[in-house]
Amino acid sequence: MFIVAIILGFLLALSIAMYWETKELIKSNDLGNSEAGYYDFADRSLNITARRNHINKSEISCNVR
């Protein structure tokens, strides 16, 4: 049981360490990727003309407009 606990503990630790370090690696070496976007409409809100929550599934067979 002790051996199994060590193996599982090692694997969990390795997975966390790999995830953490590769996340830091992206921040450090992959420059300019995360902020790629479209400035002009990044903060542009949509003009919502119709809004309905929790509709019946049967209504989906209707035409959208």
């Binding site: 606990a5 060590i6 969990l12 630790a13 360490a17 070496n29 002009d40 989906i60």
Partner: protein
Amino acid sequence: MDNIKMNAAGAGVQMKCPACGAALYFDPLSGQMKCAYCGQDYSTSEVKAENEFDVDDSIECNVYICRSCGAELNVNDNECSTFCAYCGQPTVVFDRVARMKKPQFIIPFSITKEQAVARIRQNVSESKYVPESMKSFSIDKVVGIYIPYWLYDMEYSDAQFIEGTVGSGKHKTVYYYFRAADTFFRNITLDASRQLNDESSRRLEPYMTEQLIPFETSYLSGFYSDRYDVSQGDLRRQAVERAAERFDDTLFKEVAASDHAHSLHALKKDPRYNVTDVKYAFLPAWFLTFRHENKPYTMMVNGQTGKVVGGLPTDMNKLKVKIAILTAILTVPASFLFYLLLDADSSRGKTRIIGFLVMAMIAFFGKAISNLKTVKKSESLTSDYGINNYSNQR
């Protein structure tokens, strides 16, 4: 075959090649409009679309050929090239004058060459994972290039039936939503150069397009510029895809906020769009080339905002050491946790927690591999032959 078409008023209108601005003639064999100068073929509708909004003037650029390495250098009119930007030899000779379609707008460089280099050096020196030998890298070449872009204005509307989930585990419920919305997208930017790959140019964004100003040839002084070789018609589909992507993202965020829903996807859509305007513009970028282990890398800097783009080489040994240290630190508490769980009496509870930890372990491994692939892809884009060629040929 003549290259003159008659417009509605009966006046002669000469069709110009979208790529080089030279006159087109109709080729009866292919049924296409053909450029006598650069040899490109176009459908008549494509040429019509290109010429509809075309300003009827163009600018000249001087083409130099390097006798040493054969590179072709495009230099703006009134300037001359005295050395080859590719091999550095003073063996360039004037070859010809080429015509280039004049852009309607431009964003001039506001980041200087020194600022661009300093920003890249700062990023390299702050990186914890680049090889030590790279920290003091020597620069092969820095060139400022105006990249040709098409800018699309578009009215976009859609009505969607959306499926989403509220809650989790045993308490999750699937709901259906309906939304209809419209918006106006201004200046969706798409690079019009075939040589520069789309992924690289997309990473250079965003450009602050409210700073676009009418084009003046004088802004090109001291910089290289590229001619567009992808027509605005060819990129229209990509512009619509970008608009749809942004529209759906914003719409889903609204649904998520209104009902705490997640895992949203559209079951039915009815998108409609209308491209109201397409503008041709030059946007600035610095290209910095250096070598590491005999492999060329080209980093880019947005010439307006100073955003640095590119994948730096990774020192895998450094990465392995850091992972090993962190693993050693975490193994003790993680093993102790598993020992307590395996030793516990409640078999049902402990199985559930161990199962959760194993799932988390698999998820962490999966995400780590995905992160590594992202970094490798970014590095390969930076060391890609195409992007090096893009700057080296200027």
